[in-house]
Amino acid sequence: MSNKMSRRKFLKVVAGSGVLGFGVMASGCKGKPSGGDGWVSSQYEGKGDFPVNLKGRVAISATNPSIERDDEKCILCGQCVDACKNVMGVYGNYPLPLKQEIACVGCGQCVMQCPSGAITEKSHVRKVLDALDDDTKHVVVQTAPATKVSLGEEFGMPQGTSVGKKMAGALKAAGFDSVFDTCFAADLTIMEEASEFVHRLTKKKDEIPHLTSCCPGWVKYCEYFYPELMHNLSTCKSPQNMLGATIKSFYADKMGINPSNIVNVSIMPCTAKKFEVGREELEVDGQQDMDYVLTTRELAVLLKHKGIDLNTVAEAEYDSVLGESTGAGRIFGATGGVTEAAVRTAYYLATGSNPPADLLDWKPIRGMQSVKEAVASIPGVGAVNIAVCHGLENARQLLEGIKATGSSKWQFIEFMACPGGCIGGGGQPKSMDAVEAKKKRIEAIYKEDTGAAKRCSHDNAEIQSIYKDFFGKPLSEKAEKYLHTTFVNRHDRLFD
């Protein structure tokens, strides 16, 4: 015990270290200040006033139903601002100070552009898995046209592989009770929308130009920035919600299932759909049309979680009654597709015969050009001027032009929020060469159209039967109840 410390020695050490500490402090030594041992992205080095093209990030509210962000992964690269401002025309197009909310149309293009994977969709995977495990629930799923040509990429297949039947098989293997096709609902949408367009052309000319409304990103954009054009929007619900409402009414009746026990899930290329399903205007009889939306990426996660490999899963057909689709319904996923499908049926509605071959392969409105124009000559109606626009910044410029001149030279304008249409949606698989991927997916979609036995929505036998059995005819009272909607003016949430 030679190192045993006496009380005197202990006090000496304490007092000594105190004196030493006081000496260090008094002499001005201070060591390193805390902080400053991390890093910041290179564009923030220097004085911070170097004119970089990209910096910062977009604001994402905690209550945003479509997207969320993991701050730990954010590197402040500024790519999301680029997407939001230059591609979608949202960021920077509203005045500051803010009024009621952070403007977001939920398109998810920031998700696609985010290089570090910080921004993602708000996942519904867990909720869908829970619903699948719940025996009291009848879980119905529908798949959007654009997901059929992109899901394969998540399983290592080449870009532009059509996997519709494999996806149907995989969804059945995953335990969904019925697998329906949103392409069927697209045909239904075309029946309603083409009828509405012909009606507007001939009787309600103040609602021309007719603006499409199947893209929830565009619809919210219109509500935010162009409320004066809301009465020009087609009152048709999007195909997803038309099918949702049909499932909870027609299908529930037919199968004898209580609609409140049905869980409607959709596989969408889109994050804005997650916002759309929560819209109160879309409720029928106090029920939401749709319950959960999975993006293409989320479906891949769910299938992998269930141990299902799309490469090896058995193919299956979509379930009947709401599963047949025509080429017209399948091209909804590409920019110009809705227009082409609508014109095919409008031609039929006006003339009573199917359109000529050039309208079945309508080149001017296909492709990635930002605004495409075409004229459709429909006997009895005349020449219809049509524009197709994708990317909301392009839409903004086009609409500003219409606002400036006070009139539109087009009678029908298709808007898709995402560049390329749904095939380029914010819920699609990410890839290193996004431009090439979009091209391949569009090619695959048109290949499905040309390969289809029926090319026009009105030829769809299941569509004909559902009108006969349930809706009566397009724009009937029942169709208005289940398949049409209203819009909400959101202008004063951003502007004074």
Partner: protein, 265 residues
């Protein structure tokens, strides 16, 4: 170096908080330690700056307020710190914390009129944590990390006098602004200045007096060193006197005294 925050321009992207965490190597995974009743997160040891959300009475004025150390001109935390672990950097104006000098007493937490300094309660050898105004970047002439990451121009850095001039110019040119630059006079003034179109009380700003906290104690605390020296001198005098008395008595009664002590022992 000062920063002017124009609250009307903030869109709540929280890029500044990410830049702060990255530059200062703070833990992103740490759960917020202090969440207020209105849902806003308060500063803690891994959040040197936070963005707080306010909605206005009629839910028509969505405002985001950046909160961090205001870097007072006369910092109460620094005056409370007896080990000089918090010092005001004269060149940059930043109120800087030096962990090597800190003894962990947490007087600074109590002293701060804005409750800014936080403590690393989870660490074995904890430190105080607070915004350093990126003192190393600023001393090189760079802007603080948060300022350089701001996309909308809500944060501006520069000379304090020039920013004050600018703040008053903005207020005078736009009638929507409140005629008050928060931080110009608050507890003697701060390096961080705020302008807003919503009254500051509604945005969680504390209504503090314009008198520097340090001035309350300066008049007598400044006399402490002299008093301490006098007291030490006085005690030394008494000790010396007693020693002399003892010594003189021992010289007279030396043998008996020793006998007495032996007996008692």
């Amino acid at each position: 170096m000062a920063v002017l925050v124009d609250i009307t321009k903030c869109i709540g992207c929280e890029g500044c908080t990410v830049a702060c965490k990255r530059y200062n190597n703070l833990n992103f995974k740490a759960k917020p330690r202090n969440v207020k009743d209105d849902g806003n997160v308060e500063l803690d040891d891994n959040r040197w700056t936070v963005i707080q959300e306010f909605h206005g009475e009629k839910n028509d004025k969505l405002r985001f307020v950046k909160k961090q150390c205001l870097h007072c001109k006369e910092p109460a935390c620094a005056s409370a710190c007896f080990s000089k672990a918090i010092q005001k950097d004269e060149k940059t104006g930043a109120v800087v914390y030096y962990p090597d000098l800190c003894v962990g007493c947490r007087y600074c937490l109590v002293a701060c009129p804005y409750s800014i300094p936080k403590y690393q309660w989870n660490e074995q050898f904890p430190q105080v944590s607070k915004c350093q105004m990126c003192s190393e970047r600023v001393s090189k002439g760079d802007a603080p990390a948060c300022v350089s990451a701001c996309t909308t121009g809500a944060l501006m850095s520069g000379d304090r006098d020039e920013l004050l001039k600018k703040a008053h110019e903005i207020i005078n040119s736009d009638s929507r602004y409140i005629n008050h630059v928060y931080g110009e006079h608050e507890v003697g003034g701060a390096e961080w200045l705020y302008i807003s179109d919503v009254p500051f009380e509604e945005l969680g700003f504390k209504d503090v007096s314009n008198v520097p906290v340090t001035s309350y104690t300066k008049s007598y605390l400044s006399k402490v060193p002299g008093l301490a020296a006098c007291w030490a001198l006085f005690l030394s005098g008494i000790a010396f006197y007693n020693y002399r008395v003892d010594k003189n008595r021992n010289q007279i009664h030396d043998p008996h005294d020793n006998d007495d002590q032996d007996k008692e022992g």
